[in-house]
């Protein structure tokens, strides 16, 4: 067997250009399929990572805009308590409030995302100085704020230490808020997906209500579910409870499953396209390999004749050509696999690392299995005919052949 393999390698070397051209198709096919696998795995990890920055058991509930009486559907503060009490699994419900506004500190005036939060935190970014919004902050609607890493850096660019910023003032228009805490960077966030519920400057939701939402219906309610609650059940129950309280009005919910599904769907489509391209190039590659083997059989008819005359049986010749097909298919698949892993890694570095800051490990085992599988399939499907033709060479005819 080793002799067969060595001989095939020598042969491939002797016809280098032809070999390379033949293998290109296979390399492209395998590379395409494997790189998309790597990219998809990386993307999945990135998406999961992105949502790890926030509590995944969060959803938003809004009155549906197109319905008979929008008046009746309007949400108010009383609905927060309603959800809290009547929907099992709700940890907290707060008015959804998030705006982009100019926030000032000293000479800095920066456009930032500004919103309300409860003492039960929606964000999972670590607190690096001071503390997060407290229960008493919420109960007393105190004018305090917590800054994200970004807000801290931009509003206090000259601060030596987050600790020194605690107790300083931040202004939104005429309103003044005292810095109570600083958050560290959320290593993972939904921001890169074009949607970020993490605010840069957070104040108690009660303060936010008093300062910006009083006297108006709530735009929406943000609900934090307990860890073991299922979102679908929570959402269904919340809709029902609100609907009952508002004379059958219709409400709609929104959560991050939507994003995950969208990303999954996107990769499903890409995967299908790349799969199809890969399959086609594998087919073309297989035919190329079949062709090179046929050429090899006719070029070596005399050699086959000699081997047969010397004492090689048909079966032995068959094996020899199968080995040759496999060596070709396997080397092509191997190169394709390495290229695919390389491209996948590059895609991760360039695209995915920006989103999640992490890179999924390369799926070596999977790739090797896949490459071997391709090589075997190509060998069996496209090597059989040439090998059979080689085995059926008539030694007498072959030796007469000049």
């Amino acid at each position: 067997m080793v002799d067969y393999i060595r001989e095939t390698l020598e042969l491939m070397q002797a016809n280098l250009t032809r070999t390379v051209l033949t293998l290109v198709g296979l390399v492209v096919g395998v590379a395409a399929i494997i790189s998309i696998q790597v990219a998809a795995a990386g993307m999945a990890a990135a998406v999961n990572g992105a949502f790890r920055g926030i509590n995944m058991n969060t959803f938003f509930i809004f009155p549906k805009s197109t319905q008979g009486s929008t008046q009746r559907a309007n949400l108010g503060l009383s609905d927060l308590k309603l959800l809290d009490r009547n929907v099992p699994g709700v940890e907290t419900a707060i008015p959804f409030g998030q705006t982009r506004t100019i926030v000032s500190a000293g000479h800095q005036h920066i456009m930032l995302k500004f919103g309300g939060e409860s003492y039960r935190r929606f964000s999972t970014a670590p607190v690096v100085a001071g503390h997060a919004i407290t229960r008493s902050d919420v109960e007393n609607a105190t004018p305090v704020c917590v800054l994200s890493a970004k807000a801290y850096k931009r509003l206090f660019p000259h601060a030596a230490d987050p600790e020194t910023v605690l107790g300083q003032s931040v202004y939104v228009g005429p309103k003044r808020y005292v810095v109570a805490g600083i958050l560290g960077p959320a290593t993972l966030s939904t921001a890169s997906l074009g949607f970020d519920i993490n605010n840069d400057v957070v104040i108690p939701y009660t303060t936010f209500y008093n300062d910006y939402q009083r006297g108006r219906p709530l735009f929406g309610i943000q609900v934090l579910g307990s860890r073991d609650a299922t979102l679908a059940t929570l959402e269904a129950n919340a809709k029902r409870v609100l609907s009952d309280a508002h004379g059958g009005s219709i409400y709609q919910t929104f959560d991050f499953g939507f994003f995950t599904k969208k990303v999954d769907g996107f990769f499903g489509v890409i995967g299908t396209i790349v799969g199809a391209v890969g399959a086609i190039s594998l087919l073309v590659a297989g035919i190329g390999i079949m062709n090179i083997l046929f050429v090899s059989v006719s070029e070596r008819t005399r050699e086959i004749g000699i081997r047969r005359a010397i004492g090689a049986s048909r079966a032995t010749i068959l094996i020899q050509f199968f080995v040759e097909a496999f060596v070709l298919a396997f080397s092509g698949s191997l190169i394709g696999m390495l290229a695919g892993l390389g491209i996948g890694e590059l895609a991760q570095q360039i695209l995915i690392a920006r989103i999640s800051g992490t890179i999924a490990a390369l799926p070596w085992t999977q790739a090797i299995l896949l490459a071997t599988l391709f090589a075997t399939i190509v060998t069996l499907v496209f090597g059989t005919l040439p090998a059979l033709r080689a085995a059926s060479v008539d030694p007498i005819e072959a030796l007469r052949y000049e």
Binding site: D3, E10, L11, A14, R302, E303, G305, I306, R307, R308, A309, I310, G311, A312, S313, R314, A315, T316, P395, I396, L399, E402
Partner: protein, 247 residues
């Protein structure tokens, strides 16, 4: 033990090309004993190569019986025939028929590869066989780097490596000049002396003279089957005769 190496009975070989039938052999009965040195002669198209192919188990007769070394080969399948060719027969062809990209050593050891001999033993035996034909120092030359006579000697070494019962040569000197032919013929002579059965197809009367029996074919039939003048002589006188053309 059987003393008859080749036993052909009423061998008929018919080739069909479209609707035309060619009778290449039309009933050949030939018996060759162990240790004989037989030359087969005849005009072109008389069926010499066909007969050799049948003897060499490369081709099956249309009719007739063939026993090689006591074995009825007409009943054997492809795998068994390959085994017979591997173990009992050594082929030497007119066109040398070495594998072009492969060096002398590997060419010679090829039958051992098919006989599943270990690589180490393959190398050793090939080296010895090359030494026997005087090419010990050419083991790693490719056929294109060897002269015609050297190539033919590689082919002979390959034919002999499995220690076959019968050595078959179809016009072994057809492509060689007189001096090189002479080298090959004296090699055959010494092989014959060491007890091998040799069958040689040739057009050349001088080549045929070296054998101790000449079978002449015409139109697929045996025309004559005669011992050469030295056919009955002892080995000593054969050597003497061999010396004459060289002086």
């Amino acid at each position: 033990m059987n003393d008859i190496a080749i036993d052909l009975q009423e061998i008929v070989k018919t080739y069909k090309t479209g609707s035309i039938e060619v009778q290449a052999l039309r009933g050949v009965t030939l018996r060759i004993e162990r240790g004989e040195y037989v030359a087969i002669m005849g005009p072109s198209g008389s069926g010499k190569s066909t007969l050799m192919n049948v003897i060499g188990c490369l081709d099956r007769p249309t009719l007739g019986n063939y026993r090689l070394d006591g074995i009825d080969v007409s009943a054997l399948d492809d795998r068994a025939l390959a085994k017979i060719r591997l173990e009992k027969l050594g082929f030497i062809f007119q066109g040398f028929n070495l594998l072009p990209r492969t060096d002398a050593m590997k060419n010679v050891s090829l039958p051992l590869f098919y006989a599943k001999v270990s690589p180490k033993e393959r190398r050793e035996r090939a080296q010895r066989a090359l030494a026997e034909v005087g090419l010990a120092d050419r083991a790693h030359h490719r056929p294109s780097e060897l002269s015609g006579g050297q190539q033919q000697r590689v082919a002979i070494a390959r034919a002999l490596i499995n220690n076959p019962a019968v050595l078959l040569a179809d016009e072994p000197t057809g492509n060689l000049d007189t001096a090189t032919s002479e080298e090959i013929l004296s090699l055959f002579k010494s092989l014959h002396r060491s007890g091998r059965t040799i069958v040689v197809v040739t057009h050349d009367e001088e080549v045929a003279e070296r054998a101790n029996r000449v079978v002449r074919l015409r139109d697929g039939l045996i025309l004559s089957d005669t011992p050469t003048p030295h056919g009955h002589f002892s080995e000593g006188s054969v050597v003497q005769r061999e010396a004459i053309p060289q002086s």
